[in-house]
Amino acid sequence: MNPIIHAVNLTKSYGNKKALDGLSFDIAAGEFLGFLGPNGAGKTTTIRILTGIIKTDEGHFTIDGPDLPDKRQILGVMPESRGFYPWMTPMEYLGFFADLYRIPGKEQATDILLSQVGLSAQRNSRIGTFSRGMKQRLSLARALCNKPKILFLDEPTLGLDPQGQEDIQNLFTKLHQQGITIFLSSHLLDEVAQLCSRVVIIHHGRLVAQGSLAELQVQIGSQNSTLKDIFLTLTKA
């Protein structure tokens, strides 16, 4: 079966610093993939390349086959940078993006999105008054605006309280059950271990390991290791 994301030899440098160095991996359709790496490993660069924000220096990738002219129609992204327009309300913000995606019936669609992320009560409040957690939820709502086939999540639960984290994680599980392919980049290894069926670990822009938790335990030769142990072992080497 063809992978929904097929990345080959992704290489990207910023000046003299190599952010990605020949990274290759595949993601199957419907998979919930955890993408791990220490700070500066190249996780956000990888997401930005796959979502078209920046161009790769070498290598190539395909998303959902080579024939789709504009991949952005099927991608939902919750990026690392979470800027908003403080004067807007969530209804206006999501309505604006619904216009950009040409979503019909945008009022109803934005209502549903806001109820999905738990922001219905704040639908007409200014975003400038939102807490960090509320902004995270709104960012997720925007990522789901176009009913994406593939969802990229860059540190989605960072800054949320435990209840908020659980709510969002439950939402991810529900979305995954609906058949959405999810690419999750997170430092919260417990979250990744709980949600993801497979993990890719990168370090210094290179692939270090990939596989399910069981496969990674075999790889490092320790059946009882947690994902944290595996991560620390593989990235220290």
Binding site: T89, Q122, N124, S125, R126
Partner: protein, 175 residues
């Protein structure tokens, strides 16, 4: 006799005296009635004067012009600002002839002024001036020239009003 003398004196004073020549200049200049010169800033007035050839020969190429001074600052006034013609040129004044002179000026700045008319004849080094005429220009107070006040006050108020309405409507919609 006394009565006849008085009558003659009154008659003599009621007629505008012709310009009198000085000992040296062949020309005599006199400004017209000064009563009409007092005005208000913004007025357009006509200054009249007369020039007379007091000699028995014609005089050629005579230039006459106004000289205006501000009595307060004791400085001459640039007549270009007052839109006065620079000077009047007379080709020839016949012997004994009296000619009228006229300048239109625009009262620009209020204040007290002194005015003389100067006449220069070609070939004569000594110009002839009239006696000093003093007049006063009253200030003009117009708070709404050209109906600018409604626009000047109204536009910012209207804009502010529109913005307040828009903000009020927005705030009532947004929590």
């Amino acid at each position: 006799m006394v009565l006849i003398w008085v009558c003659l004196h009154v008659v003599a004073n009621s007629v505008e005296a012709e310009p009198q020549a000085s000992d040296k200049s062949p020309l005599a200049v006199q400004i017209g009635s000064t009563r009409s010169l007092n005005g208000t800033a913004g007025d357009y007035v006509t200054i009249t004067a007369q020039i007379r050839n007091t000699t028995s020969r014609p005089i050629d190429k005579v230039t006459t012009y106004l000289s205006l001074a501000d009595e307060e600052t004791k400085l001459p006034v640039d007549l270009e600002d007052w839109s006065a013609e620079k000077g009047l040129f007379i080709e020839t004044i016949d012997a004994g002839q009296t000619l009228p002179l006229q300048w239109k000026i625009h009262f620009v700045k209020p204040g007290a002024y002194s005015l003389i008319v100067v006449a220069e004849a070609a070939g004569n080094d000594v110009p002839q001036t009239s006696t000093i005429t003093r007049f006063y220009v009253k200030p003009k107070h117009n708070l709404n020239p050209g109906h600018v006040l409604p626009v000047a006050l109204g536009m910012p108020v209207v804009l502010l009003f529109i913005m307040v309405i828009v903000t009020y409507k927005r705030n009532s919609k947004v929590a």
